[in-house]
């Protein structure tokens, strides 16, 4: 679960997030064009997510939702504009930024096919720099919260797509980020899996975190968002 981060949580030299900064996640005038000289897929996009925000971005296939999420995650740079989490950008302070943000990419990639669920989670916790003495507890907590107990020692390549998605979601929440970016998180999930996801989001928001969700226009979800925005022709507009 997310929580207000303190020096004790990090136990290293970087300062705690700037709680005086207005927004957990802030995108300012973000633009991105995949082909230079052509119409940008994102055109001076502004977006603020406050503490406890649950925002959905919808749009047609290929409209730029995933590009926006990848920029917010710090995976790729915008051509123009700035992304910040509590006042820090992924370019200036990548390690610090990645301690605060967790990204669930669309699809089923990002798993080691021949590692078991438990080893995958352990690996995820350690590269997320979870304090070593907390790793085992966090892994077991993730296994419990996302109902992965029966699968804990099963290799990923022997799991169904829905089970893999549940593992990917567990890996997203395990580091206890402040901001979670979910790109089409319902892919392959059954009803129970979706409920586990919603509960994890609620815990994050209850602790002051923020969540950005993106999915294709027309996707049905029972989850209630504060705001739903449409991405259309490079601009975010209210749905």
């Amino acid at each position: 679960m997310s929580g207000v981060l303190t020096e004790a949580d990090f136990e290293f030299e970087l300062p705690a997030p700037r709680r005086d900064a207005p927004m957990p996640l802030s995108l300012r005038s973000v633009s991105k064009a995949w082909d230079k000289g052509r119409v940008p897929v994102l055109n001076r996009v502004d977006l603020d997510l406050g503490a406890g925000a649950r925002v959905r971005i919808a749009g047609r296939n290929g409209v730029g939702k995933t590009t926006l999420m990848r920029i917010a995650a710090g995976l790729i740079d915008p051509d123009q504009g700035r992304v910040e989490v509590f006042g820090s950008s992924p370019i200036d302070r990548p390690e610090y930024y990645q301690r605060l943000v967790s990204f669930l990419p669309a699809g089923d990639r990002g798993l080691y096919a021949r590692l078991s669920v438990r080893r995958q989670l352990d690996f995820c916790a350690r590269i997320a720099m979870v304090p070593r003495r907390q790793v085992a507890a966090r892994v077991e907590e993730a296994i419990s919260i996302f109902d992965l107990g029966e699968l804990a020692d099963r290799r990923v390549d022997r799991m169904s797509m829905g089970q893999r998605q549940r593992l990917r979601i567990a890996m997203t929440f395990l580091p206890r980020p402040e901001v979670v970016l979910l790109d089409e998180p319902l892919t392959s999930l059954d009803g129970d899996g979706a409920e586990l996801l919603y509960a994890a989001i609620e815990r994050l928001l209850g602790d002051g975190g923020a969540m950005l969700w993106c999915s294709p226009a027309g996707e049905h979800t029972e989850y209630e968002f504060d705001r739903t925005l449409m991405l259309d022709q490079g601009k975010l507009v209210p749905a």
């Binding site: 790729i76 390690e95 301690r99 967790s102 021949r114």
Partner: protein, 269 residues
């Protein structure tokens, strides 16, 4: 825990990940050990068949070439990191490393450790089989010194793999030309035959990379082969190459990742 402790934990997590993946392929160790035995058998009989200039007995040449066979595996393992990172790009797991506080550069360096450790194990097996089955005479009093010498040599070899990893991230093609470079290095590095047999221009090339002094030093420590240069001179060369190449290769890797992030091609594979 300190930042150092967290970094060490992440570093070992990557090594452990590679170890578990390796274990999941149950026949790999046996098949690679057999490959090593076949190479030893081949060169054992070649050493009996052919008189190589500069070697007084077939056993001297066999000792020379066994160390070369042991080192070629280490050389290959240095270059294997770029292929592994290429697979990670395809699987989307490199993205996970990039989006972690541990980061892509440290992740790539950590990814190189298990293959190097495994190559070290295979080299030890090669030498042990050479000694036990083919009568290779190891120079036991200096064999322990070969371990730190090899670690030092790895610091000089690894940058080659990291340069290729940077190239792989930039071009999405694994090991472009790596097999040629490994073949070239095995020749000018004197892995299979003395560089004195090479033409003058090739002998000059043998001075421009760390494999020649490392091979010469390890041969001296393992099988008491005579050295053309002094031990101190060989060590100085290896340290010099490591000091220059390691920071350069890390910078190249960092720039390749940043270039991919700036252009958006880091997501491609």
């Amino acid at each position: 825990m300190t930042a150092f402790g967290e970094n060490a934990s992440a570093f070992f997590a990557v090594i452990r990940r590679d170890y578990y993946v390796f274990l999941s392929y149950r026949t790999r160790l046996v098949s690679q050990a057999l490959t090593s035995v076949f190479s030893l058998t081949l060169f054992y009989y070649v050493s009996r068949l052919v008189h190589v200039e500069g070697f007084t007995t077939p056993d001297r040449y066999f000792g020379f070439v066994v160390v070369g066979i042991a080192l070629i595996g280490v050389l290959y393992s240095c270059f294997s990191v770029s292929e592994t990172i290429r697979q990670e790009l395809v699987a989307g797991t490199f993205e996970r490393l990039l989006l972690s506080p541990f980061g892509g550069v440290r992740g790539a360096v950590a990814t190189a450790i298990f293959p190097l450790a495994y190559a070290f194990l295979m080299s030890s097996i090669t030498l042990a089989v050479g000694a036990l089955v083919f009568g290779l005479e190891l120079h036991w009093s200096t064999v322990p010194l070969a371990v730190p010498a090899l670690v030092l040599a790895l610091l000089a070899f690894l940058p080659f793999g990291l340069f290729f990893t940077a190239l792989t991230i930039a071009t999405k093609q694994a090991n472009v030309g790596a097999s040629w470079i490994i073949a070239l290095l095995s020749i000018v590095g004197g892995l299979y035959f003395p560089i004195a047999l090479l033409p003058a221009w090739a002998q000059l090339a043998s001075e421009l990379q760390p494999f020649t002094p490392a091979t010469e030093l390890l041969r001296n420590l393992l099988v008491d082969a005579p050295m053309e240069h002094s031990v101190g001179g060989a060590l100085a060369k290896i340290v010099g190459f490591a000091e220059i190449l390691m920071p350069l290769s890390l910078y190249a890797l960092y720039r390749a990742i940043r270039l991919g992030q700036r252009r958006g091609t880091i997501i491609e594979y």
